[in-house]
């Protein structure tokens, strides 16, 4: 596979209490690409995503074993500034998480938390992020409006903008379009395609057609006989779709299971 690896996992396992939900994940994520993580629900896809920016640290009962390297640095080693790490590896969630403030303040939020206080700089970054998220034209005249007044699709792009405003290097998305209608979904996908190259994108998705539309690489997670999630296939999207090596992948991508 091509490209420079930006994230690399070695023997990654995720536990929830005593239950192992993800085992033996050894993957490399390639810089500037879009990697889609697909597979049936409850196989630890979100847990995999959350172990890449150490958000699992905050989930009660969750435990991560193994190594995760980001640009060569073991992010689980001691002395890692996890707060800084999360500004480099941003995340967008399944449900749009909108803060009870204005559209402008929602995007500025991450900047303010990270100590940016020059209002001029913030204004510039807010506009830049809203443009990147293809929301600027829809909200430029009402930046001070309550963000709750936006439609669900707009709210999700607002969340995208909020994450983009702190200029992450890697963008993790956990089923970002599952609450959106097809039109809004397409908008988000277009945004992701336009960001490709500028940053590395890892997206968990339920939708095979979405993976087909945007993914460069496809990572298939399936439960084994003990219901522990495992990566059964990983490669260039085209190859995985057309020539899967694993029988279960073949059945999954052809819609027979999952």
């Amino acid at each position: 596979m091509g490209g420079r690896p930006i994230i690399k996992t070695v023997g990654l396992r995720v536990f929830y209490g005593d239950r192992k939900i993800l085992d033996d994940v050894d993957i490399e994520i390639y810089e500037g690409s879009i990697t889609a993580v697909i597979g049936p629900s409850g196989t630890g896809k979100s847990s995999l995503l959350r172990s890449l920016n150490r958000l699992n640290d905050l989930i009660p009962g969750a435990r991560v074993e193994g190594r995760v390297y980001y640009r060569g640095m073991d992010i689980y080693s001691e002395g890692v500034n996890v707060y800084y790490l999360r500004t480099r590896i941003g995340m967008v969630f399944q449900k749009p998480v909108v803060f009870p403030t204005s559209i402008y303040e929602n995007v500025a939020f991450g900047l303010r938390i990270n100590g940016v206080d020059d209002e001029e700089v913030i204004r510039g970054r807010v506009e830049e992020a809203l443009r990147q998220a293809a929301l600027w034209d829809e909200v430029r005249d009402r930046l001070d409006d309550d963000a709750y007044n936006l439609s669900t699709g707009q709210q999700q792009r607002l969340c995208l903008a909020r994450t983009l405003a702190i200029r992450p290097d890697v963008l993790l998305l956990d089923e970002p379009t599952s609450y959106l209608d097809p039109r809004s979904t397409r908008k988000v996908e277009d945004v992701l395609l336009s960001l490709k190259g500028m940053m590395t994108i890892v997206i968990v998705t339920h939708s095979l057609s979405q993976a087909r539309r945007i993914a460069d690489y496809l990572l298939v997670v399936m439960p084994d006989e003990d219901n522990v999630g495992r990566v059964i296939e990983y490669g260039p999207a085209e190859e995985v779709f057309n020539n899967p090596r694993d029988e279960r992948t073949r059945e999954y991508v052809s819609g027979l299971i999952g």
Binding site: R86, G110, I113, Q155, R162
Partner: protein, 279 residues
Amino acid sequence: MDRDSLMKILTASALITPLLVLFTLLSMILWDGLPGLSLDFILGLPSGRPEETGILPALVGSVYVTGLAIIISFLLGLGISIYLTEFVEDERVRSIFYFVVDMLAGVPSVVYGIVGLAVIGIGLGLGRSVLTGAVTLAFLILPLVTVATVEAIRSIPDSLRLATYSLGASRLEVVTHVILPMALPRALTGTVLAIARAIGEAAPILVISGVLFTRSIPISLLDEFTVLPLVIFNWVMRPQEVYMRLASSAIIVLLLLYIGISSIAIYMRYSSGRRIREV
């Protein structure tokens, strides 16, 4: 009569009964107390002659002690609940703390008075002062405030916390940027209930202050004091009818004071906080 209308009548009378009781009480108090209510009564000093007496020292004492108690217990309750919800990770430890808080709510108020006098008044040497009374009352209403604040914080969806952490926030930043502004309105609602409790308490203050009659207005935190419920208690214990009327007038003042302080809290509630909505 069909079952539905029977049910309706039964539930409606459950509502009407307490309303009737409240209405009767209020009208009796207003009937007895309104004629004696004057600025001279509210702003006057107590006197041995009932027709010349006033309640200023007790009114100041009530505002002073209750106000301080609310501030102390609000800050304390906020600290406790942020610690319990955001920093204690073990669910068992947390439930033990919740149990302790619930137990504290069940302790009779006079016990708080005795412990307050012994520990703060005598032990710490603060005497029968405003400060001793305020701290004691603060602990008395602490469970109410804490439970309300904990509920307020727990109603903040985890998704908001995770989203904030995912932007690189530290725990402190999550607390100051998300937890505090969003929990404040509901926490203040709980505090309004606590005000009602604190302002009407006579038993613990009787133990701590013991002063039923004083002409001196408390100014320093270490001054002796009395409160309106004690003055009312003193007057209703007397056989003469004139004191019954004086007590009613003082009760009206107490009610107005309660409405006044609660309005401040309710105003703060609507102007301070942000409401959360989820998709």
